[in-house]
């Protein structure tokens, strides 16, 4: 395999998009944008990537253009963050409905207000129900690999859905680290040229985006739901294929030292690395703790998750977003509902940490484990808990 090179993770994602040999990139190149599209515009301008780069006037337009481009049969990419994703919201739901295999990188950053550009998962969680396939990268290598995987899955004839690759803003997007890169030729072993099933073509006119009268709307929704649920098989198969070709293996849920652990932390994204270090530290102190993390968030890997928690007595779920006025973070609530009907299930406690760029440290995880252990002993904890709130 190729030697690892030092590169900013955002630029590595751009290089993955280049390796995927995309045809069109549409982006609104201003804050909260990352270096991803900046570097892609350089690659196109320098003739290193044969694609159209369209600097549009808003993210709403970026997604609209992506849909048009994808409908014309082009391999299409965009990237955004926080408010940019929020501005796309109206159009986001159209992409899966039209079965457009668009790939988007979302450098996760908080939503205002208060005005914030820092890292958390409040942006992606507002689009949880958009029918986009959603994966989460833990480090730069994963951000690169998941980007290629995203194109492969999105364009698979059994899927044809857009894919959103999530990577933590700043704590991942702005970090220089060693990453093994791939050229277009190397990537082509995995990702073949895109052959669309149906395109907008004046010689063979078809309608895309018709009205869903009450007589068909429900059936259409049922089809989208069937499609995204069925996509899980392709997602897993394509990870296996990727592993065979490149030696890096991925699955929907990763576990770390969970075997026989009395308490297991649950995370998504780059804080999982810090969590592993925290687990090692706590293990050294004799605390029986492990870690589980979701790489795949949509479709939710229900059966894999139910299998993975078998025998675990206590789960401490760490969310990076909050669902106001409900029962805590979206991951926590999802995890609880996934296990409610199981005969044997762990005690589950929810924590919200690292909002709007608040650093998540090994101490944060130790505090969470200490609290969850205490609640588990009592058999009772709060509805959920925000960690590190300064109240004085």
């Amino acid at each position: 395999m190729a030697k690892k090179i030092g590169i900013e993770v955002s630029l590595a994602v751009s290089e993955a998009v280049r390796a995927a040999d995309v045809d069109l990139i549409a982006a609104y190149p201003i804050t909260p944008q990352t270096h991803i599209v900046e570097h892609l515009s350089e690659l196109v301008a320098d003739g290193k990537l044969d694609a159209e780069f369209v600097p549009v006037e808003s993210e709403h337009t970026a997604m609209s253009l992506c849909i048009g481009s994808s409908a014309a049969g082009a391999r299409t990419y965009t990237a955004t963050s926080s408010q940019g994703l929020a501005l796309m919201h109206e159009i986001l739901y159209i992409a899966p409905a039209l079965r457009m295999p668009i790939v988007m990188t979302l450098a996760n950053r908080s939503l205002s207000g208060p005005i914030s550009i820092w890292n958390d998962h409040s942006d992606v969680m507002t689009e949880r129900d958009s029918c986009w396939i959603q994966t989460f990268a833990e480090n730069g290598q994963e951000a690169f690999d998941l980007t290629l995987h995203a194109f492969k899955v999105a364009e698979h004839p059994d899927v044809l859905l857009p894919v959103m690759v999530n990577l933590d803003g700043f704590t991942l997007s702005h970090v220089v680290e060693p990453i093994e890169m791939m050229t277009q030729a190397e990537a082509k072993k995995y990702l073949k040229p895109y052959k669309p099933k149906l395109t907008l073509d004046t010689k063979h006119p078809i309608t895309m985006g018709g009205v869903g009268l009450p007589a068909v709307y429900t059936e259409a929704k049922k089809q989208y739901e069937t499609a995204i649920t069925a996509s899980k098989k392709v997602i897993i198969d394509e990870w296996k294929e990727f592993g065979k070709l490149y030696g890096r293996h991925y699955k929907p849920i990763e576990t770390y030292k969970t075997k026989g652990a009395e308490i297991v932390l649950m995370t998504m994204g780059s804080i999982s690395e810090t969590a592993m270090t925290a687990v090692d530290g706590m293990r050294d102190k004799g605390i029986s703790v492990g870690l589980m993390r979701f790489r795949l968030w949509r479709p939710f890997p229900l059966q894999e998750f139910q299998r993975a928690v078998k025998g675990i007595k206590t789960l401490a779920v760490v969310d990076r977003a909050i669902s106001y006025g409900s029962q805590g973070g979206p991951v926590y609530m999802e995890v609880k509902s996934a296990l409610y009907n199981q005969k044997e299930r762990p005690q589950i406690f929810g924590f919200v940490a690292g909002l709007g760029g608040r650093d998540v440290t090994t101490d944060t995880f130790e505090e969470i484990v200490t609290k969850a252990t205490r609640y588990a002993k009592k058999g009772k904890g709060p509805v959920y808990e925000m960690i590190g709130v300064r109240e004085k």
Binding site: G6, I117, W118, T171, H174, V175, V176, E177, P178, S270
Partner: protein
């Protein structure tokens, strides 16, 4: 694992210096990470940037709270920031100043191992600018052996292109004028 914290002011290249250091370490086959303290970019405001270097994969994303080495690009920061905060026992401070070590220790109460260098003077003569980030890399490499001197040349060349040579000269001058204090 070695953790390095660079203090500078917005526009002085603190982030660039941490990135160059990480790139050089990665080129040596080590694991490394470089990242800024994330905030609104304001020219002149105190900023920090970090590098971690290790022989093993680095599995943490938290900020650097207990650095082994602190580099200070701008001497005026000493009056407003305690640059030794969290510095490990036996930690090292590398400071850009025109004053001598004794005066600095007395004025600011620094007890840690300290290497001083008049990086502003070196940068002014070599670059014609009071931008000391690459100059202080020379001092850092000499004082602490974190990477080999020649490893920094390629990343420096790639980042600075036609002005790389001036930066390389400034870096080498600082290298020759700094003692190894490890």
């Amino acid at each position: 694992m070695i953790e390095i914290r660079v203090h500078g002011r917005g526009g002085q290249g603190a982030v660039t210096s941490t990135e160059l250091l990480a790139l050089a370490a990665i080129n040596e086959g080590k694991y490394a990470q470089a990242f800024p303290s994330f905030g609104p970019e304001r020219r002149g405001a105190p900023v920090m940037a970090f590098t971690r270097i290790s022989d093993k994969p680095i599995r943490t994303r938290e900020m650097v709270y207990t650095p082994d080495i602190v580099v200070v690009l701008d001497p005026t920061l000493l009056q407003i920031v305690d640059v030794t905060t969290g510095l490990k026992k036996d930690g090292i401070v590398i400071l850009n100043t025109s004053k001598d070590e004794k005066t600095i220790r007395k004025t600011f109460g620094i007890k840690a191992k300290l290497a001083t260098i008049d990086a502003t003077d070196i940068a002014m003569r070599n670059l014609g600018l009071p931008i000391t980030n690459t100059t202080l890399l020379g001092s850092l490499i000499k004082a602490c052996d974190v990477i080999k001197l020649k490893s920094i040349e390629a990343p420096l060349q790639k980042r600075f292109g036609r002005i790389a040579e001036k930066n390389w000269n400034a870096l080498k001058e600082a290298y020759s004028k700094t003692p190894n204090i490890q």
